[in-house]
Symmetry: C2
Subunit: 112 residues, 2 copies
DNA sequence: TATCAATACATAAGAAAATTATGTATATAA
DNA sequence: TTATATACATAATTTTCTTATGTATTGATA
């Protein structure tokens, strides 16, 4: 797990996308899912994750409910309707970002 | 020109790559080049650019010399040997970043 | 000739988003 | 009983950006 400046501003987009695909998730579950999908390369730190979740909730993109499992509290998050729209918007933005970066760095994928 | 959090941490990489391709450039020239290549979508602000250039110089990746053209001072930057290695390293990192982001966001380009 | 846009540098104040360091608490395996 | 995994959270600090200024020259325009 290298020092990844947390995918530089993409954390909100990653969270929103995961919740679009998985309907409902809790914080710890998100860290594990990201670790799994990235084959151990990306470790979300709690100091980044939880404030990000709280902000997305405060902005009206996520709603929460808690559930107790094995005496441990889980705080689940799911997309609101507004959050659903936000995912689309953020993904478009992310794609544009990647395109611009690849152009500037001459990293365009092979065949095009 | 939208509000781009300056390509989220990629400013140093962009500068280094431009200097690898162009041998020597001055600050204002870099802003214009980025504007041109990005078709007007990315405007480097001076508040981000100059501190970044100064840091890259302080880190030993860039060296400078000045030149006066039409009574205006231009401060040219070029890669040091160490800077040359840094470009390679940063580009590898950028590629890994893009790959991870595309995987996490399901934005993998069509055929693969 | 006054004024504005472009060229060219720079720094300071503030905001955003991360890292790092803590803190609480339970379950489970060694 | 001690360490690791699970599960949340916040505080201090750092990095990196935006926004706002500031200086100064050239060239076009009104």
């Amino acid at each position: 797990m290298s020092t990844n400046p947390l995918l530089k501003g993409s954390l909100q987009t990653i969270i929103l996308k995961l919740l679009e695909d998985n309907d409902q998730m809790y914080g710890y579950e998100i860290t594990q899912k990201v670790k799994e999908v990235s084959e151990g390369e990306i470790m979300l730190t709690e100091g980044a994750l939880y404030p990000a979740l709280h902000k997305l909730e405060a902005d009206g993109f996520l709603e929460t409910f808690t559930q107790v499992v094995d005496n441990r509290v889980r705080k689940y998050y799911r997309l609101t309707e507004q959050g659903g729209k936000e995912v689309t918007s953020k993904l478009t933005e992310a794609q544009a970002f990647i395109d611009q970066l690849q152009t500037l760095l001459n990293l365009k994928p092979a065949t095009k």
